[in-house]
Symmetry: C2
Subunit: 315 residues, 2 copies
Amino acid sequence: MELIFLGTGAGVPSKERNVSAIALTLLQELNSIWLFDCGESTQQQILHTSIKPGKIKKIFITHLHGDHIFGLPGFLSSRSFQGGDGPLTIYGPAGIKEYIETSLKVSGTHLTYPLTIVEISEGKIMEDEKFIVHAGKLDHGIPSYGFRIVEKNKPGELLVDKLMDIGIMPGPIYQQIKENAVLHTADGQVIHREEFIGTDKKGRIISILGDTRTSHLHNPLVEDSDVLVHEATFNHKKAALAKQYFHSTTTQAATMAKENNVGRLVLTHISSRYQKQDNQLLLNEAREIFPDTELANDFVKIEINTKQKNRERSN
Amino acid sequence: MELIFLGTGAGVPSKERNVSAIALTLLQELNSIWLFDCGESTQQQILHTSIKPGKIKKIFITHLHGDHIFGLPGFLSSRSFQGGDGPLTIYGPAGIKEYIETSLKVSGTHLTYPLTIVEISEGKIMEDEKFIVHAGKLDHGIPSYGFRIVEKNKPGELLVDKLMDIGIMPGPIYQQIKENAVLHTADGQVIHREEFIGTDKKGRIISILGDTRTSHLHNPLVEDSDVLVHEATFNHKKAALAKQYFHSTTTQAATMAKENNVGRLVLTHISSRYQKQDNQLLLNEAREIFPDTELANDFVKIEINTKQKNRERSN
Ligand SMILES: [Zn+2]
Ligand SMILES: [Zn+2]
């Protein structure tokens, strides 16, 4: 489970940063990849990674500004052209359906796979056996959403020592204990699973926010996330500009992370006014407030660990 | 006046070739650049050239397949974002207006410059003081056009020797002779301009064809062009596939050039099945039929000379 940043710029592409797109790889968990936003040239960026378009099974769109959606028609067509036949679902704000359907119709594109387009509103927008995704509204002039991706807890490990203490040796019966709340053994013992299973393994939480001004109203989306991806279009001094254009600064993003008990913060959606040599400054501004911050560049990968594991790693 | 190939691939982008777009620089002639097709990531390709988006004043779209139009909304937005304020006109097949207007509307994009969209049919689609552009239908399953760009002839040079023979010496009167069909001089001479002006300097002709099967019906678009840009999606052996998918082969493009007295042929729209090491083979197939052939790669520049000048150069 990792984030691969495919485009980390704001508004317009530059030589250093393409426009927005983030892949969340869930290969072990679901044998699939989810995409968050799909700015122009996302399919070209993908050519420089190990991502196979056919593995992308869900696309979440934060908002309809061009730098977040203009890569969709091309990605959908090429996924088809390359023989992708697995279904694909797109979640996005109202209007996304008209945009995609018009683009495909006018260009005479016939997809080889079933495409579902879900126009979202606030609340739980999807749930499967392993994940729940919530959407929450942000503050960006046009409707913009943040996504909170919650991995479900996994049952704890079997307490082998404790089982052996009562004379139950390893074998097929261990699987049966895992699968049944109460089990009667051949020799008449009654095993209550809860007594022989460790505590749940906590699932991870990733929050990916679209373009937005900073606001305490976003706390429920963000709190206790293991990884928060937040836009930082401007540096600290440009707070007035950020407010005017419905964006955030480095320090606003860091404050959001700090106040919400986040594990790790990743800044993205960096204005093209900043060059390579400004990256360290932007990063330092955020780290002064929230030390566990990274600044995303195109093709950067961020592994998703629980806060607990992150903390152990840095000790 | 030169062609800059921004994308030379077919259907889907590859690491080697982006999807279709060609710039025709008319900086000396009109202080502007024209674009032919605008596949996804054209604006990103432009970042790696000296082309300024604000200088692009006309875009001609051959057909509406995604690999030829999906870069339009992003290009239009970024041209605006970067403060472009000069008007832009787009010429393309019916449907282009709906595609552009829906993309701009859904994404909340407000352009800073006047945009005119002209849905074309066969015939003369534009004329200014220096150029005429004709469109002709091709054979591609969906409506696809070829463009014949004709530079108007320029008046010849003043025959200075002949004027001096009759006693008219260099001075402001030379400009008057150029500007008037008949001029009465102060000392009573009558000068008929046509007797003292050399033959017209022939303008150049460039033909740029969209995706198409080969056909003699396209001869009027192509004949006597100084430069012909023709698709060559497939190699010679794949003629059946080319026909099936409404495309052309290397040798079909070369035959078209040979039979139409063309100056120079440039092949583009090369299938991603061909790798770098296949380029020479593709080129050789065409050159056997039409020696003055080039194979376009992304960022290749081709200077536009008259056939006459081309011939002198190669001698
Ligand atoms: Zn944005
Ligand atoms: Zn094409």
